[in-house]
């Protein structure tokens, strides 16, 4: 009984610590809600810490291809993400166009993109540190020009 309790305690503490560590970097969150037709709903919530880690498990040739395809704009994404981390709370872009609405801002070190139009809303939230990390990894894979 005592042994079982110890095992349970150890397991519980490990799960709690692992969970806390995983979610410490924040969440990548993508919510797409469509109200047209059958109404498409996509909700993806991922711990941000997992993404750079998961990239190490992607086959090398696929990563090289991704690096090659994104070579043109990845240094720009990396530069923007790196610089935006200095502005954790900022309103960057807000566009109202009739019934369409786009809002890009940073909040708590996350880049938030909200886009709305009749029949569809898209909300994306991603920690800037994750964008910086991923873009840095992809930029490093790009062929030297």
């Amino acid at each position: 009984m005592v042994l079982l309790a110890k095992v349970a305690l150890g397991f519980g503490a490990t799960v709690a610590l692992a969970g806390a560590y995983t979610f410490r970097e924040g969440l990548l969150r993508v919510d797409v809600d469509g109200t047209r037709g059958s109404g498409q709903h996509v909700h993806v919530w991922l711990p941000a810490a997992v993404i750079p880690m998961a990239m190490h498990f992607v086959p090398r040739r696929r990563m090289l291809r991704a690096g090659e395809q994104s070579a043109k704009f990845m240094p720009l994404v990396h530069a923007v993400a790196k610089e935006l981390q200095k502005y954790p709370e900022a309103e960057l872009v807000e566009v109202h166009d009739g019934l369409q609405y786009v809002h890009i801002r940073t909040h708590n070190g996350n880049l938030l993109i909200d886009a709305e139009e009749p029949g569809q809303t898209v909300h994306v939230s991603c920690p800037l540190a994750t964008i910086d990390d991923v873009s840095h990894q992809l930029a490093a894979l790009a062929p030297a020009s």
Partner: protein, 205 residues
């Protein structure tokens, strides 16, 4: 459960709870309304477009100058390369823009161009280290007004590159050294456009 385990349990539970809720705690602390005034020394370029048409389009863009300055050299597209844009018409129809600028820069303050006609009034003035352009279009029902104010140091920085290019990055750097200034103001029947520089990270107007 032994007495030792029983003593340790609250401590472990407390530590686990601290780690687990650390991000939420941080969020709770930082989710208060941000101040509109940015950190010391930050300069923000604001663009606001308000359309008075039936759709009521509005565009608000706030860009930290430092960010623009750092990011611009990372863009390599079309005519923009390493923060410089190739324009290829600095010698437009035999008019050497650089020479004219040099002449204006070294000249005393004054009104250099004045056009008064039935259709529009135009004036180009140099005053207190700034180049002011004013256009008043009389043809439109509400008489459109365009005001452009460019610090001479910014123009100088823009023209600091090679012959047929504008050094945008240098221009932004020079702009960062200026005080709060309204750079462009356009008012006409359909749109109100403002481009200005200040230390606030939100559009407050």
């Amino acid at each position: 459960m032994t007495s030792r385990t029983r003593h340790l349990f609250p401590l472990i539970a407390f530590l686990a709870a601290c780690f687990l809720y650390a991000p939420l705690g941080t969020q709770a602390q930082t989710s208060s309304t941000p101040s509109s005034t940015s950190a010391h020394g930050e300069r923000w370029l604001h663009v606001r477009v308000i359309s008075t048409n039936s759709k009521g389009e509005t565009v608000r863009v706030n860009v930290p100058l430092e960010l623009a300055e750092k990011v611009l050299p990372a863009i390599d597209h079309d005519r923009l390369h390493k923060g410089k844009v190739r324009i290829g018409c600095m010698d437009c129809d035999g008019v050497d823009v650089r020479t004219i600028f040099e002449a204006v820069r070294s000249a005393k303050d004054g009104e250099f161009v004045t056009v008064d006609s039935n259709d529009e009034d135009i004036s180009v003035t140099k005053k207190d280290g700034q180049l002011l352009v004013h256009v008043h279009d009389k043809n439109k029902p509400k008489h459109s007004q365009v005001e452009v104010k460019v610090p001479m140091k910014v123009v100088e920085a823009l023209l600091s590159g090679s012959k047929d290019e504008l050094d945008i990055a240098a221009g932004l750097h020079a702009l960062a050294g200026q005080g709060d200034v309204e750079l462009v103001s356009v008012k006409d029947d359909d749109n109100t456009i403002r481009v200005w520089l200040d230390s606030k990270n939100v559009t407050t107007d």
